[in-house]
């Protein structure tokens, strides 16, 4: 078998090894390639940046579990950090499914630790999980207090100073659904279409293509897609001089670059080998037919 045949029969294990190496090296010694923010992320960032301490609170909804944490946790933390730095009141909602509350807790604990001056109940509030999915989204449109009853720690909603003037969506300036599933569509259908509240979305790279259609039709205010979206948001925060904490997404982007380059190389090599082998066979085939 010629070199190319053996090359195409390359065992999967070598490719796996290649990817592992290419991902690990930059994590140990980062390269620091420049990040260029794109329009959807800029739109989301500027919308939040225009808000201030007296505008309606931003509700950050946690919608991811461990399997999509690497992409979405940096996004949630960047959003919380941005709001707390600007003094924008922020409601962290523990999510529509029980699996997400642990993630929400991790995010709010890590970020609030960097803002000792911010007080719970006045600058940020943490609402726990309640069952019902779309029923929950609908009832927030009517009255937040009756929907939740009390916050994650058990204190009644109406005794939280921050939520005093906040009754339902008409008092909320933005809902950002940080989701690894299709919940942004629920927020679109049950919140934006029925109550007109602005919705931003922070999603995995795989669901970003589907949401571009909703972004272009103006249903979403802005969007962060994949770890690159998170890195862009961290970059915009840094450019404005806001504290970013450990920029996990940006560190990850170097490995992302190398991994992409390797995959593109694999595609080219795979096809080059495929065509060379096929042309070789056709040439030999012609020779045989000639005889």
């Amino acid at each position: 078998m010629g070199f190319w045949q053996r090359f195409l029969q390359l065992d999967r294990k070598w490719i796996f090894l290649g990817i592992a190496i290419v991902v690990i090296i930059p994590l140990i010694k980062p390269i620091g390639l420049p990040i260029k923010p794109t329009k959807p992320v800029i739109d989301l960032f500027t919308y939040i940046d225009t808000l201030g301490p007296e505008s309606g609170p931003v509700m950050v909804v946690t919608g991811f579990d461990p399997s999509t944490m690497p992409e979405l946790m940096p996004m949630e933390q960047a959003l919380l950090r941005h709001c707390l730095t600007k003094g924008i009141p922020v409601i962290s909602f523990g999510g529509l499914y029980p699996a997400y509350i642990g993630m929400a807790k991790m995010a709010i604990d890590e970020v609030s630790a960097d803002f000792p001056d911010k007080k719970y109940g006045e600058d940020y509030v943490f609402l726990g999980f309640i069952p019902g999915v779309s029923a929950v989204i609908l009832s927030i449109g009517i009255d937040i207090a009756t929907t939740f009853g009390n916050d994650y720690y058990g204190t009644p909603i109406d005794s939280l100073p921050m939520l005093r003037g906040v009754k339902n969506y008409s008092d909320i300036s933005l809902v950002v659904d940080v989701s690894g599933t299709s919940t942004p569509e629920y927020w679109l259908m049950y919140a934006q279409e029925r109550y007109g509240v602005n919705i931003g979305v922070a999603c995995t790279a795989v669901s970003a293509p589907a949401y571009y259609a909703f972004l272009q039709s103006g249903q979403f205010v802005g969007m962060m897609g994949g770890m690159k979206g998170a890195a862009e948001y961290e970059e915009l925060m840094a450019r404005k001089g806001y504290p970013t904490g450990r920029r996990n997404a940006t560190i990850g982007m170097d490995s992302q670059s190398l991994a992409h380059l390797l995959i593109i190389l694999l595609i080219i090599l795979g096809n080059a080998g495929y065509f060379i082998v096929r042309r070789g066979e056709r040439r030999r085939g012609i020779i045989r037919r000639k005889r």
Partner: protein
Amino acid sequence: MSISTSIWVWMAALLTLMVYSFLYKDNPFYRLAEHIFMGLSLGYTLTILWYNYIIPRVYEPLFLPPHQWSLIFPILLGIMTFGIFSKKYSWLIKYPLAFYVGGYAGLRIPLLLQSWIIRQVEASFLTPDKFTSLMSSINAILIFAGLFATLIYFYFSKKREHGFGAAAQVGIVFIMVAFGAAFGYTVMARISLLIGRMQFLIHDWLGIM
């Protein structure tokens, strides 16, 4: 180099390596991790079920004051699903299933029409403001052509000859470009997951970074 001392981090790291051993070949370590995973996730699903459905939805509203007696009906319907365990009463499951299917279909129709069809058609309208610059007009026409050709590709009532076949060919070109873009985007998502796990192994476990 400060290797972590917590046995939980070690357990998580070992489990991660056991799962990745599948990449070398299907081996007992992987099978072990696979079955631990299936057992835990089943136990986990049952706990959520108990904590999220049975207590807040069934037990509390029924037995605690402001008794919502109307909840008897869905609970009765729910109990009928257990009919599936016995040969004789297996037809009982048809009733809760009927309610579940009716409710699900009824909810989806208006919302699908509103968000997936009307909203997308409305956004595809080429309003003059989309023709501000040369580039935006070309883009608007390309988006419209993409939609037009894709709908022709998914048209099943006509054989694909001459003109109609050509439009379908253009349609599949747009569709394949859309798939390529989505594939490229998804590669990013998968790689960032791997980066997340590697960060855990290198940073939290081995403490190198």
